[in-house]
């Protein structure tokens, strides 16, 4: 109970305190991350808990600590703590540290909420809050050119895909009659197929799967610690985590589609990474491709393999990004041509970078070897092995190739010595993650046993994986990319966008509709005004007809009255004798009339 709320509340409260106090941001951030980590460990080693909170009527919010969710929560906590250590150094010169750490902590809290969510409403909320905080983080340097567009793109693409999650959630709640995730996992039949496909759409958006992979590369506009966190254990991980958690429900029809999407992504984004000319963008494309491999594992029906690769990748990719951040600080750029020889400036960081790269390629005894092996073994057991195995192997070759190419470029060149501020913090962060990625492999059997049954070993898979990784590394190191990719290079540099990509297919039609609505709007407005004007015209017509008709009649009465008055006035001349005479005559007349009247009566 306490630990599950600590995990989420510690970073959340720290974010609020930082915003209010506006000082000592990194102390607060680090201590809250450590508390959160302790909470996660408490969940990992403690009994399973479920915390029920008030939500919507008949749909309470739940937080659950199962073996799976507590492993994920620990992963998030470990990686985010190390990234925060690094960020303390990386952001030491930035003026807006408070905002940075507060947003980062909000992000971590949202991610913890996502992995621990036990009901769909909380999961959906966390899912969207991750979108918000990544928008704020990617757009952190909002005054720089291009940054706001990148942040906007990230939020819009993921939110469009989020509609899939909304609909899937509605379908599942409607069919199960409960918003409890555990209860909805019993769904089957058509609902499961359809809901599964909608879940896949949501996961494709968050995990940057083809054709929605483009935003992730643009998201490099944010500070490097952000990229390290977004790309490893958090933002992009959400998609894979969603599919891993719902895997028990997914029917074979949906699994095939998931596998195919993952395989295609591994292929396409692997090629993009290979042809990339910017280190951070290369790593971003690589993230998509590694998540493609995880989706393949889910598609093959072994979500546990995907989980292992997710954990290994989290440590590996964050150390790669953090290393890249040091290189960036050292050379003031992330373009590969500017980074040539940077390895000689920062030899210790480069050693960490090499270890991580080899781990990603799948070289034993590093953790990436075991997880990739598990994925290959998983695809071999699948009923679609003929399709999935080659895709995984090609993905592995590509991984080796693009990492080797990057290492070669970083290594070959001349040193430019420069001292960096905050290097201790940054080195400490990188070192922690590199140690993690080395020892994680040894922990895998324990994790397997803890979450589900241990995975069977497969010597053929080991052989295939190792030879694919080695051949990839050799190709990348010795063969220039131009001859390696040939005509594909240009396409890869354009991100394999089909028909102009997102802009042409989505943004433009939406704006066309919007402008059509605006045009209709103006027409409607003029039409209503015209009706109004017609009304006024009718009123004028009535008024003039009044003036012609009724008014003339009334005025003629008035005129006659006046004339009558004038005639009457003519009688009153002011001459006394004459008026006396008139009075006498009239009185006499009245008298006569009265007399006659009386007589008759």
């Amino acid at each position: 109970m306490i630990s599950i709320s600590l995990v989420i509340l510690a970073p959340l409260l720290a974010a609020i305190v930082i915003l209010c106090l506006r000082k000592r941001a990194y102390v607060l951030a680090l201590s809250s991350a450590v508390i959160s980590l302790l909470g996660s460990l408490g969940l990992l080693f403690g009994p399973g808990v479920e915390l029920i909170l008030p939500g919507l009527p008949n749909m309470p919010l739940r937080l659950v600590a199962t073996p799976l969710t507590s492993v994920l929560s620990t992963m998030v906590a470990v990686v985010s703590t190390l990234v925060l250590v690094y960020a303390t150094g990386y952001m030491s010169q930035d003026k807006e540290k408070n905002r940075f750490f507060a947003t980062l902590l909000l992000f971590i809290a949202a991610m913890q909420m996502l992995v621990l969510a036990g009901d769909w409403i909380l999961l959906l909320s966390a899912w969207e809050l991750i979108g918000l905080s990544s928008y704020l983080l990617i757009g952190f340097w909002y005054q720089k050119p291009g940054v706001k567009a990148a942040a906007m793109r990230a939020f819009l693409v993921t939110r469009s895909a989020d509609l899939g999650l909304y609909i899937a959630v509605f379908l599942l709640i409607a069919s199960a009659g409960s918003s409890d995730i555990a209860a909805t996992l019993n769904t089957d039949g058509t609902v499961a197929i359809v809901a599964g496909l909608f879940l896949l759409i949501a996961a494709m958006g968050k995990s940057a799967q083809t054709p929605l992979h483009d935003w992730l590369q643009r998201a490099m506009a944010g500070p490097t610690p952000v990229s390290a966190l977004l790309h490893s254990a958090t933002l992009v991980a959400a998609g894979a985590i969603l599919l891993i958690r719902t895997a028990p429900m997914l029917p074979p029809e949906t699994l095939v589609v998931i596998g195919i999407v993952g395989g295609i992504t591994a292929l396409i984004t692997g090629l993009i990474a290979l042809g990339e000319s910017d280190l951070k963008r290369l790593l971003a494309a690589s993230t998509s491709s590694q998540y493609g491999l995880m989706l393949l594992a889910v598609g093959a029906g072994v979500p546990l393999a995907a989980l292992l690769h997710l954990i290994a990748h989290a440590a590996i990719k964050s150390s790669l990004f953090l290393g890249a951040g040091v290189f960036q600080h050292s050379r003031g750029s992330t373009a590969l041509k500017d980074l040539a020889g940077v390895a000689r400036d920062q030899p210790r960081i480069f050693i960490g970078f090499v270890i991580a790269a080899l781990a990603l390629a799948g070289i034993p005894p590093l953790s990436g070897f075991f997880s990739k092996d598990a994925i290959i073994a998983a695809t071999m057991t699948s009923s679609h092995a003929w399709l999935f195995v080659p895709l995984v192997l090609i993905g592995t070759v590509l991984t080796g190739a693009y990492m080797a190419r990057a290492l070669r470029i970083l290594w070959q060149g001349n040193a430019q010595k420069k001292t960096l501020a905050g290097l201790h913090w940054m080195s400490a962060g990188v070192a922690g993650l590199v140690i993690l990625l080395i020892v994680l492999g040894a922990l895998f059997p324990t994790i397997e046993a803890f979450v589900a049954a241990p995975l069977p070993g497969n010597m053929l898979a080991v052989g295939l994986g190792l030879s694919a990784a080695l051949s990839g590394l050799l190709l990348g190191w010795f063969v220039p990319v131009r001859s390696l990719m040939g005509p594909l290079l240009e396409k890869a540099n354009q991100g394999f966008s089909i028909a102009g990509g997102f802009d042409n297919l989505c943004v433009r039609p939406v704006f066309a509709i919007a402008h059509a609505c605006e045009k209709l709007e103006r027409r409607l407005y003029t039409a209503v005004l015209a009706v109004g004007k017609t009304g006024v015209k009718i009123a004028h017509a009535i008024r003039s007809s009044d003036e012609q008709g009724i008014d003339r009649f009334i005025f003629s009465i008035v005129h006659r009255t006046i004339r009558l008055g004038r005639q009457a006035r003519a009688l009153q001349s002011g001459l006394i004798h004459r008026e006396l005479a008139i009075t006498v005559i009239v009185t006499a007349g009245l008298f006569v009339i009265t007399a006659i009247g009386l007589l008759i009566y």
């Binding site: 919507l56 939020f155 939110r159 209503v528």
Partner: protein, 494 residues
Amino acid sequence: MLPIVSLTLFLPLLGAIVIMCHRNAAAEKVHKIGIITSALTLLGAIWMWVRGVADPDMAGKGFAQVEQIDWMPSIGAAYRVGVDGISLPLVLLTALLFLLTLIYSSKVRKQPQAFVVLMLILETAAIGTFTALDAILFYVFFEVSLVSMYFMIAGWGHEDRQRAAQMFFIYTLLGSLPLLLAILGLYLGGETHTFDMRVWIENPPLEGGAAMLALIAMLFTFAVKTPVFPFHTWLPAAHVQAPAAGSVILAGVMLKFGTYGLIRFALQMTPEAFREAGVVVLIFGVVAALYGAFAALAQTDLKRLIAYTSVNHMGYVIVGVAIAALTLDPEIRAIALDGSVLQMVSHGLVTGALFFLVGMLQDRAQTREMDQFGGLLKTVPLLGWSFVLAAFASLGLPGLAHFPAEFQIFLATLREEPWAVIVILGIVITAGLYLKAISQVFLGASNEKWKTMPDLDRRELLTLGPLLFFIIVLGIAPSWVLDVVHQTTIALAF
């Protein structure tokens, strides 16, 4: 038992009379009276909230806190007020928004007496519309609010205010005539001639073709008021020309007359006819929601943009009510109506905050064209972040006010009429348009022109603070409102 409903209802009117008696009072004093009166009104509304809607005699059904005095017994009209779970949250929202509007408007120096008096009369009319349980009383309050708003726009509006005010007045006045016919129809159709709305709700007096005619008349009135495409053209015009305070009340309170009436009259008094026509209403709702979102996306004027998002958000309410009318499952009906009522409250808070923010921006810059700004987040961080928060609330981000409401509406929609869930596209379009607005106005390089723009002052913080606070509270813990709403919606039976 103190007649709290009546006290709350007539307090603002009393304040208005007090101000009218002090003809030569200084502007500060006038504003102070206005603020104190509306603060007391808010206390009254909170008191009503504490009393709740659970009437011990009715077991969750019908209305609570009913107060009744004979008025015109010969025709069965009486002064009857009371609340249920649908109207009580709206009363609380109204009282809060009027208090904040009067705080915000305490800078008004142009005829302050008239301004505050109009505001207070408008407050009584608004609370009256939500609490009236007599159709004649309802209609009177409904119309009085219209007149006050007309003078508000015509007197304190912007450049083209006369035309906008006239358009608003004629549109909504013509719009409310059919309602009067429908009320007369319901009166004549019943066995006992009465204007008691509770009787009409308990035993809908009309059926068949007559009920359908009455429904069409009511739908027309409420469609103009809500507003629903294509009867919405008065809205952007009125909003753009109205003063910020007027816009907040118009969007935050008066648009709810339409949707409240839709539930109270159309849904509760002609349920059978509404069920038959439900699909048509649903289509109108879906079209309005999507059209509002798309039209907002094309705007360059920040205030017009927010005005159009109202069409979008109120469209969701229409969808929710239509689903409630269509479904036979009381659980789905409760979900749909819970969502709709919460959406009205959320929209009041969020759009209120947004219109205040635009007003504050316009006070500083004298323009609302988005491309005139840029990088304001750096120059005015408080204003900027408040806008970002309100905008994300408006685009339906979880943890903020709109999400629980829209979630329930969409959930009920998918369960009853799956095709209509297409309306969910609206949340992507609104995301796009708000991000576009944020990036144009607040992000990017700072514009030299606005380097000296001052950030929010105390008065403005006092205005915005409570709204932003409730936006977050309602997003994180909607249950404190939903529990009240749910008590009524779950007991509705058609």
